[in-house]
Symmetry: C2
Subunit: 167 residues, 2 copies
Amino acid sequence: MGGQEELRIRPATERDRAAILAIIMPVIRAGETYTLPRSMAEDDAVAYWTGPDRKSFVAEDGTGRILGTYYLRANQAGGGAHVCNCGYMTAAEAGGRGVARAMCADSLSRAREAGFHAMQFNFVVSTNLRAVRLWEGMGFDILGRLPRAFRHPAHGYVDALVMFKTL
Amino acid sequence: MGGQEELRIRPATERDRAAILAIIMPVIRAGETYTLPRSMAEDDAVAYWTGPDRKSFVAEDGTGRILGTYYLRANQAGGGAHVCNCGYMTAAEAGGRGVARAMCADSLSRAREAGFHAMQFNFVVSTNLRAVRLWEGMGFDILGRLPRAFRHPAHGYVDALVMFKTL
């Protein structure tokens, strides 16, 4: 077990493409937590995760192995551009090691530095209890519950949560 | 005063470009209700309003004058694609004539026909009282209030509302 203290979180580069794909494709294919098409092509997935409207990061352990990745972007344009949004994904084999928590803490810090006033998660699948509890533990409030807004491949129609934290 | 009974709502075509621009550009430039950049170029605005991820419509009166326009799209991809989203804009000179109400009713009907289960408005600016009351009157619930999530050009930071209606 590496602790999260050994994680280094840095901006993603072109050379991280394979490592990012290895993390995000299983999550997309599973279709249990993100509103992305399960059949999404790898190129489209990378284009989404590292698009020009966001900054993308990777979390690597002491040996340089990438255990997680996240993006940070403005959640809206115009009059809503002072609220940011993030998406986080952790490598399946790295679950339970504090990677998501470390990435979220890093994103909150970078969001504050960038001048954002708040962070919003638009669509946290309610059955993703680990995520919901983690975000609540990091100070996010559930501001809204979208009834049956997500079709879970195993559980059918389940609620999604809007979560928000003022920075 | 034409009543809303005289409105015809139909899919937008290329020939409606000028009429759509005449409606949406003043709303975008005002920056009071939509999270779009106030400086958005006309081409970008039309590309947004009539993009390939949505269907766009216009409301015209008995003389063929276009009084409003709206779009209908899936609000999310993947497991969220059964919830739709709409945006509506009414010509400044046509306010108070039921155009927005007629467009919303039309969109709800088309959304049901298309198989959507619900309609979600992600970001209704709380100071847009006419809209909030109209959507509430049409059966939308306020599911969440995003604190100070919109920077209004006159009122400063104001709340935005997440509104939702099961179809």
